[in-house]
Assembly symmetry: C2
Homo-oligomer: 106 residues x 2
């Protein structure tokens, strides 16, 4: 599969800066957060906070913490719906992260 992606202000040598790569990697480096991300394979559009609470045997503040990591890393985009929250994958950022990884290889 090939991806034809637009990368704003891509400069040869540094696509995403290292700090952002670090933050994204760290966000993905946790079992609960990986489980959250994997739900997007089943449920393509968005995830509601309550669904995440159902699937992760963790207290509410812990889930809030994990979602914050993913949002701060810009992998998930939060959307308010009244007093509920839903999240969508930030595909451009994921693509940039993938582009960084593939740029390491010849």
């Amino acid at each position: 599969m090939y991806l034809f992606i637009f990368v704003p202000e891509f400069k040869q040598g540094d696509s995403m800066d290292s700090k952002k790569i670090e933050k994204i990697s760290r966000a993905i480096s946790d079992p609960s957060r990986i489980q959250i991300l994997q739900q997007f394979r089943k449920k393509r559009e968005c995830l509601h906070c309550s669904e995440i609470h159902d699937m992760l045997d963790l207290a509410q503040p812990s889930i809030s913490h994990h979602l914050k990591q993913l949002v701060d890393a810009d992998i998930l985009l939060p959307e308010k719906e009244g007093r509920n929250l839903k999240y969508v994958l930030n595909k451009p950022v994921l693509d940039e992260y993938i582009a960084f990884l593939s740029s390491l290889q010849a």
Copy 2:
């Protein structure tokens, strides 16, 4: 700018398990280790331990520690050359990791 990048197919059969995704992500989530990986964009083939020592202002045990993280995560493959060590990128594993990431998106 546009990037036309190859994204390996994600197959249900040989998908990486979450533990491995976690380990790889954690290995990448450090500034020094990202710097090591970025050297593969310049120097395509392999990296010698001594070059890493030169570019990372860290004590030798710290560098040894970081390289261990990358090797344990299976991102780098160590090759002994007498009393020296060199490292090559494990491209199949990087591809699997990329495949996992792209499988999250529709």
